[in-house]
Every structure is written in C-alpha cells, then in structure tokens.
C-alpha cells in the first residue's frame, strides 16, 4: 500500500507552512506522516529499513537476500513523476536571484515572522476590524450611500406603464437613429419636464419592416431638432443646462396651447410629471426581435418602472405589448378571500339558515353570541383574574 499521491501533494505545502493550500482537517490528518511503526506497513518495500525488508532478510538469513530488491515493483509511475517534478521545482527555487526578488514581496507579508516576531497573548495593541459597539451612530461615508438603479416605488398603473414604454421606445428610436450605444440612455435617470413633453408628443408609427429608426413621427420640425440635439449629448458629458435652454424656447407656445388638465401643478413629485396616459398606442406593436434592442428596452423600462424581468420572461417577450402585459399581470390583485366571495353572493344572502364568518370562530365568539361573555367577564373581574 502506497500513500495516495494526491494526499502527498497536499501534505507538502501544509508541512512547509507559511502559504499553504487549504486542506481540510480530515485530509490533513490522513496525509500527516504516521508514526514509524505504522508507516512501516504502509511504505513500499524498496526502503531498506522497512519491516517487510527486515522480515525478508531474516527469512533468508542474509543481509542480501536474492530476488527483486522490491518485490512490489518500487514506486508507482505517478509517484515517480511527482517526485521528479518536485525535485525540479526545488532546484529552480534555489538557483537564481530573480526568484529571490520575486519572493521578497511575498516574504514581506510574512516579514514579522523573522526574529522580532512575538506572538500576541492578549488583544491589546492589535489591529481591529469593525466596531466594538455604537457603530450605528457613525454617519455613513459618501461612498456607502446606496442609490437604486430603479425607481423606488414600482409603477403599477396601466397608464403610467404605457407612458414608460412609450418613453423608452422614443428614446431607443432616437438612439438607433443617432447610432449611439442603446443602453447609454440609462445614464439619464429622469428628463427635464420640457424634454419629457417633447417625447410624450412624439408618435410611434411602426414601419412594415420593423425598423426602429423610421418609426418616429415628431410633432414638428423644431421638436425633432431639439430631441436630436438633446440625445446627441446622452452618453457624453453632462449638458443639462444646455438642454434646458434649448427645450424651453421650443416649448413656449406649446405650453400655452396644450391642455393643462392632465398635468398637475406639483407634477415634479409624481412620476412622469403627472401625465397619465400616452397619446397613441402605436409603440405597442413594435417588435423586440433584435436582442440588443430588447435588452436595452427592458433595461430602460425596468429603470423607469421598477419591475425586474426574469430570464424566462425575457426569453418569451417579442413585442412591446408583451412587456406591458407582463408587468400588468404582475400587478394583478390578490385572489379574493372565500368569505368575501360568499358574503357578496346573492344566493347566500337570501338564506336564513346560512351564516358566513370572515374570521376564525373561537369559543369566546360563541360565548359572546350566546350572551355568556358578559357574565364570564364579570365573574373573572370579580375574582381579580382580568383587569
């Protein structure tokens, strides 16, 4: 029986100490050199002082018994190979100064392991990780603040979902047209109100070939120029003030002419500036067959609405309509309780002998129904058992 080479392999670094491979305690125990008596049975017979060799010599009555030196054939092929390899690495390590230079960095880590190293007996003076209480009083650093990619509150209303889908489609059409990376639109978390208005006014007319670039129908030439100008900036440096300047003068007459009943005065706090529905539904029939477009659409849509899309859903989605439907299905109300159903059922209402309870009936409910509850409580109170 030879010890497993694999375990030998693990044993070596663990014995040599410092930067050892991780070996679990059971394996390490297995691979640990055994006491000599036990080892004699395990090592092969080629070693001269093994027990088998001693027995063999005793049987023949000579120090040089006939036959093969090792009746078991010596070390195995793998073991020999492993031994050679190990010898080579040892030689390489010993030879040049280059290896020393390489090792210096590593040895510096374990530098205190030299002469002046003194193992600590108490925790005093040691470096601490974390806090010893009251850590929650410390204000978070600027880097520790978490900002969500998505909106904080999920959007569930149908009109708002359509608005989000429409906005995403318009943005992606423009990005397609300008030849910019599609997902870079996600850098703009929220548009200025005037920009959003331009987007809202833009219609989507799906082309027969399913091209996204030709699908936009702008309200007028100025709006087109403004939108193209704004979206050219997306993905580059922050140009928010410029955007505002451009869009404001485009939008002056629109703001007056457009009906304001849809937009609330404090629309900035509401999603989509208080807009409730889209102007047209042409965007719903746009195809999402192109994987890049689909990915960009879902990314932007989930950023605007706060809904995640699991892989199976992403795989099955082929049009914008399906995306909107999927999110609407998610937001479906919970199934009604049976008690509500029965209570609203006219067949039950007309029956004098059927009584439907919405809550679990306990013994105390029965007591109350029979008029015993007051008596019981009065008696308990008299005995000082309840307040």
């Amino acid at each position: 029986m030879r010890p497993s080479v694999r375990l030998l392999n693990l044993e070596v670094p663990s014995i040599h100490g410092a930067r050892s491979l991780y070996v679990c305690s059971v394996c390490r125990h297995e691979a640990r050199p055994r006491p000599i008596v036990a080892r004699q049975f395990l090592r092969n017979a080629s070693s001269a002082n093994s027990l088998t060799e001693k027995v063999r010599r005793k049987i023949w009555g000579t120090d040089n018994p006939p036959g093969l030196k090792d009746p078991y054939g010596g070390e195995g092929v793998i073991e020999r190979k492993f031994k050679n390899k190990h010898a080579q690495t040892v030689v390489e390590e010993e030879t040049p100064e280059a290896s020393q230079a390489l090792d210096t960095a590593a040895s510096e880590d374990a530098a205190p392991a030299a002469d002046d190293y003194e193992p600590a007996t108490t925790w005093e003076g040691l470096d601490r990780v974390g806090h010893l209480g009251r850590w929650f009083d410390i204000a978070p650093a600027a880097t520790e603040v978490y900002e969500s990619f998505q909106v904080k509150k999920k959007i569930t209303k149908q009109g708002l979902l359509s608005l989000a889908a429409h906005q995403t489609v318009v943005e992606l059409c423009l990005m397609h047209k300008l030849g910019k990376p599609l997902t870079s639109i996600c850098e703009v978390v929220e548009h200025d109100q005037s920009v959003f208005k331009l987007i809202w006014k833009t219609k989507i007319v799906p082309a027969s070939n399913g091209q996204w670039t030709a699908a936009l129908e702008y309200p007028d030439k100025e709006a087109e120029e403004a939108l193209v100008y704004i979206f050219e900036q997306v993905g580059g440096q922050n140009v928010a003030p410029e955007i505002e300047e451009v869009t404001q003068d485009v939008d002056v007459e629109d703001a007056r002419s457009d009906t304001t009943d849809i937009v609330d005065m404090d629309g900035s706090k509401q999603p989509f500036f208080g807009y409730q529905r889209t102007r047209d539904n042409g965007f719903l029939s746009l195809s999402l067959d192109d994987p890049a477009t689909k990915f960009a659409f879902l990314k932007r849509f989930s950023q605007l609405t706060g809904h995640f899309f699991p892989d199976p859903a992403v795989h099955s989605i082929t049009t914008v309509q399906q995306v909107v439907d999927y999110v609407q299905n998610l937001a479906k109300p919970k199934p009604k309780k049976l008690a509500e159903y029965l209570a609203n059922n006219p067949r039950y209402q007309s029956m004098p002998n059927v009584k439907v309870f919405a809550k679990r009936q306990k013994r105390s409910d029965r007591d109350e129904e029979l008029g015993r509850k007051k008596l019981i409580e009065a008696e308990l109170r008299a005995r000082g058992l309840i307040e």
């Binding site: 059922n345 039950y348 029956m351 002998n353 309870f357 679990r360 009936q361």
Partner: protein, 137 residues
C-alpha cells in the same frame, strides 16, 4: 271500582308522531391558502346553497380555519358533536359526508349484534323464582 287511566307521559318516538332532525347545526371550516381545502372551497362556492336550501332546519355556519385541514362539524340535539375531516376530498365526496352528518343521530356508533333491536319489553316478563315450575326450588 272506577276505571282509571294509566298515569304516564307519552315517550318520544322520533318519527312516529313527528320527525325531528337530530342534527341541529353544521359548521364548515376551510382554509383560504391550503391545497387540501380546494374541494371544500369549491363545495362552499357551488354546492352549499342547494344543500342549505334542502335542509332549512339545519343551521349552517361557514368560517375559515387558517392553516388547518377542512372540517365539517355536526352538532346534535343530544348535545354531542361529530367532526369529519374532509382534506383533499372532491366536492361530491364532501357532499356525501355532509349528508352523513345530517342523517346521523348524534349517538356514539354502536355495534349491533342482534338481528332485531327494540325498545319494547319482552312479552315473557322478568324471571321469577315463585312462578312457573317449582321443580328446582
């Protein structure tokens, strides 16, 4: 000597003069969440109205019992209760169980050993050592 009537009260022979159903109340318990109540929920939705209409003398109470198996519990005139667990049963099976509870007398189930059961005394009367043959006395 005048003839006197026997002073006695008529004993109730349920079903001879009038029949009073022994089951006075049936409680239907279900769980909104658990799968074992699926049949019960369906029964309550679709079959219970006709059952209640056919048995106007039984009070029917429907109440949830969350995270428990569905149960029908019968309350009887004699003060006893009988409960049947109807977990994972189909609505038709639950209907049968409800009928079983409705028709039950409320008494404990007894094993009938004799072919005839009667409340009447035996015509032979009680054994008496001073009557009949005096051979062994």
């Amino acid at each position: 000597m005048t003839v006197q009537g026997i002073r006695t009260v008529t004993s109730a022979r349920n079903g001879v003069g009038a029949f009073i159903l022994q089951c006075k109340r049936l409680d239907f318990h279900y769980c909104d969440w658990a799968g074992s109540s699926r049949g019960m929920v369906s029964f309550l939705k679709h079959h219970l109205p006709s059952f209640a209409k056919a048995n106007p003398q039984i009070e029917i109470r429907v109440s949830p019992r969350p995270h428990k198996h569905p149960v029908i519990k019968g309350h009887y005139v004699n003060g006893r209760e009988k409960a049947i667990c109807v977990r994972n049963l189909e609505p038709e099976q639950i209907f049968n169980k409800a009928n079983l509870l409705k028709a039950a007398s409320g008494e404990k189930l007894k094993r009938t050993k004799k072919p005839i059961a009667s409340l009447n005394e035996s015509v032979r009367g009680i054994w008496d050592p001073y009557h009949g043959g005096f051979k062994s006395v």
